[in-house]
């Protein structure tokens, strides 16, 4: 055996993968010389001395799952029935009907479909992408759809789509979905947005999912399984789900394009806290309020492609407030 083959054999042995035949092979090789035995020992001792570090304590599972469960209760409904594999071609082929096909034809078909299955329906991993404050990201999905991810947002999806295209979103993203027949569903903490092929924006933060459609149509529903109401949104319409409630009636929105894609902010009776959160996400600079009661003051206005100071200046001017920079961030206070 050459050096490489020996290495692989020894490795298989020490890692517990070796078969009886391989162990015998190794035994034989070891009996050949002292040098062989010394070599093996060296590897064996290094290998067995490496032990996985263990954390000194692991949180109790029940406590851990309690937190997971709380978020699961708003578990995302999977939408229409055809998403579930029950009706899929693949499960019917591998279920009972296969036995009805007889002889060589049957065998050939099984081989053929196994190949197709392995090739097409391969085990998808879940991929994760996220942005921090001040970051944006454009991602192409396995089906060619594009996702523009806004700041402080997370998205995940399988490496390969099967019968449906499922995306998980926390934060904000703009989707351009390719039409390929299978349902495209965005799952947020408290809602799901299902489309066929279209362009739309989803803002899902703090248990509020807000959807704006710029092209095509989407179906918005709550993730709450006991709440089946859904709202169909066409281009130019927006709606939202707050916590466990059903989606609200669609409203028209006037902007033809989604504001954040062009670095524009649109606020409509928006509380200052929300405004400052959005500014922090975009500019990655801290903004605080001297007096917490200021956070609920609302503002209506549009800010386009300005730097942060200009925006703060305008906000303070309209609300008779002042701001100052203290080295680590901005503070807004009453005049």
């Amino acid at each position: 055996m050459n050096k490489k083959e020996i290495d692989i054999l020894i490795l298989r042995f020490v890692s517990g993968e070796a078969t009886k035949a391989e162990a015998k092979q190794l035994e034989l090789w070891l009996s050949e010389s002292d040098a062989n035995r010394a070599y093996f020992n060296k590897i064996k001792s290094v290998w067995s001395n490496i032990k996985a570090p263990e954390p000194d304590s692991i949180p109790d599972f029940e406590n851990f799952w309690f937190k997971v469960d709380a978020k699961l209760q708003n578990g995302t409904d999977t939408g229409s029935e055809d998403i579930l594999n029950k009706g899929s071609l693949f499960s019917r082929l591998f279920g009972k009907p296969v036995y009805a096909i007889s002889g060589a034809i049957g065998f050939a078909l099984i081989v053929l479909f196994t190949c197709i299955y392995l090739f097409v329906f391969d085990k998808p991993q879940i991929l994760y992408y996220s942005t921090g404050n001040g970051q944006k990201l454009e991602i192409t999905l396995p089906d060619g759809s594009k996702v523009q991810l806004n700041a402080d947002s997370k998205v995940s999806f399988p490496e390969r789509f099967r019968n449906s295209r499922d995306i998980s979103l926390d934060g904000e993203a703009y989707f351009s979905v390719t039409k390929n027949g299978s349902p495209f569903i965005v799952h947020t903490q408290n809602a799901s947005v299902q489309v066929k092929g279209t362009k739309f924006n989803v803002n899902a933060r703090n248990r509020k999912t807000h959807v704006m459609v710029t092209e095509g149509a989407v179906l918005l529903k709550s993730a709450n399984p006991s709440n089946n109401a859904s709202v169909l949104l066409h281009a130019g319409q927006a709606s939202m789900c707050l916590n466990e409630s059903a989606p609200v009636k669609p409203v028209q929105f006037k902007n033809k394009t989604i504001p954040w894609l062009n670095n524009i902010f649109v606020f409509e009776n928006t509380p200052l806290k929300e405004i400052s959160d959005e500014l922090i996400r975009h500019y990655n600079i801290n903004i605080k309020f001297a007096d917490p009661s200021l956070e609920t003051t609302t503002l209506t206005g549009e800010f386009g492609q300005q730097n942060l100071e200009e925006i703060l200046k305008t906000i303070c001017l309209s609300l008779n407030l002042k701001y100052k920079y203290n080295g680590t961030g901005y503070i807004i206070y009453s005049n």
Partner: protein
């Protein structure tokens, strides 16, 4: 319920079944994430994220396949994303060990420092294979499934790491440790039948 039945139930939005599934793999997944990241609070956050995502994307579960490689692959991607988005490096093994290792500690600490050096120098795809086998106890076949590669590839990556370990293994002190541990060890192995 068998694992296969659990998966089917989870796909049917059975939250209780999902909890059962979580219970089966909680400890292992926690250990896996902790060994890469080290910070317990982040580990718990990531593990929560993992389960929530698996739930949201449950349409993609496949009862015909083992769920373990799928869970660990998802965890692996989550970890990679977490480290990348915070510009962090994986925890060195020596950083994970408790400060007081007992009387044999000096030899062990040196071994782990040496291992850390080796691991930091090898390609990611080799390192993950090694970690999954040595630390997480995955068989080659499970690693192959998790990373979507062949068993032969797993084998060849493992042997490359071994070569790297061996090539750097020249310190006399470590050689001494190995001689002390090794010689009685070799006969014990054959006696115990440590093979499949």
């Amino acid at each position: 319920m068998s694992e296969q039945e659990l998966i089917t139930a989870v796909k049917n939005s059975d939250a209780a079944a999902f909890k059962e599934l979580g219970k089966l793999y909680y400890r292992q997944l926690y250990g896996f994430i902790w060994r890469r990241i080290g910070d317990k609070d982040s580990v718990e956050d990531l593990l929560q994220d993992l389960f929530l995502n698996i739930w949201r994307l449950r349409n993609n579960l496949d009862e015909k396949r083992s769920v373990k490689p799928y869970l660990f692959a998802a965890a692996n991607n989550l970890i990679k994303n977490y480290l990348k988005s915070r510009s962090l490096k994986e925890k060195r093994i020596s950083e994970l060990l408790p400060d007081d290792l007992g009387t044999d500690s000096h030899g062990e600490k040196e071994l782990y420092n040496y291992l850390d050096d080796v691991l930091s120098g090898i390609p990611e795809n080799q390192k993950i294979v090694f970690l999954m086998n040595k630390f997480e106890g995955f068989k080659y076949s499970e690693i192959a499934e998790m990373l979507n590669i062949s068993e032969k590839t797993v084998e060849s990556r493992m042997s490359k790491i071994l070569k790297t370990l061996r090539d750097k293994f020249r310190s006399a002190k470590l050689l001494l440790i190995s001689l002390i541990v090794g010689i009685p060890g070799i006969w014990a192995i054959f006696k115990s039948g440590n093979y499949n």
